[in-house]
């Protein structure tokens, strides 16, 4: 800080938000490294994308509002942009991964579309965990 004293209503929430955001992002990155499968590794970085970025952006808003003596909401732009684009990215990447795993004939790939319907009909009821009852004529 450039010698400017921050008021107390900024320092306490700002400190908590920064620590929480840093820890959440670090845990997400650890999960990205340590989980064994791509379809599992898809999940942890989203923690940093949503909660970590949200915490840091709110803290940044607080600090710049306190320094400029009026509310500053520039950071909402980044928040809006991330909230809009993160699901698009995740969905496209997931579709690419499923497509590539199926082309390779990988069994770990989740089934899609008609394949999923067929497997569910012949296999078992995934909601209950035991074979689905046969269709009764009504």
């Amino acid at each position: 800080m450039n010698g400017m004293e921050l008021p107390l209503w900024v320092t306490i929430p700002g400190t908590l938000l920064l620590v929480a955001g840093g820890l959440l992002t670090l845990i997400g990155a650890l999960g990205l490294v340590r989980l064994p499968d791509f379809f599992m590794r898809m999940h942890p970085p989203t923690m940093g994308t949503t909660l970590g970025a949200g915490c840091v952006l709110i803290a940044s808003m607080l600090v710049s509002s306190a320094l400029e003596q009026h509310p500053v909401v520039h950071e909402l732009l980044i928040t809006l942009f991330i909230v809009m684009t993160a699901p698009v990215t995740a969905m496209l990447l997931m579709r690419a991964a499923v497509f590539r795993a199926q082309r390779k004939g990988d069994d770990a790939a989740p089934p899609t579309g008609a394949q999923a319907v067929a497997r569910r009909a012949q296999d078992e009821d995934p909601l209950v965990g035991r074979p689905a009852p046969p269709d009764e004529p009504s």
Partner: protein, 93 residues
């Protein structure tokens, strides 16, 4: 009280840089291409957060514009990579 906030800012910056390093590790040893793309996504996001932390610590607004630009270009690059992995070309004719 400002000292505590300074320490928290340093801690958060350190966390983001460490997360960038971990994403880099996954980018280098990721077995498939989609792992590398996912790691790149996490990498640019953590870089953006590091820039925001620089902006908070130096209390200047220049870093904010850079963070917005990084978010934009990172989104475009990830979409392009995913499209390439999906169909073999980025923009379909």
């Amino acid at each position: 009280m400002n000292a505590v906030f300074d320490y928290a800012a340093w801690f958060a910056s350190l966390c983001f840089v460490l997360a960038m390093l971990l994403a880099l590790l996954r980018m280098f040893l990721g077995p498939a291409a989609q792992d590398r793309v996912l790691a790149l996504d996490a990498f640019y996001l953590n870089g953006m957060l590091t820039l925001l932390m620089l902006g908070i610590r130096s209390s200047s607004t220049v870093y904010f514009d850079m963070a917005l630009l990084i978010a934009l270009f990172g989104f475009a690059s990830t979409i392009a990579f995913a499209k390439f992995l999906l169909s073999g070309e980025v923009i379909e004719p």
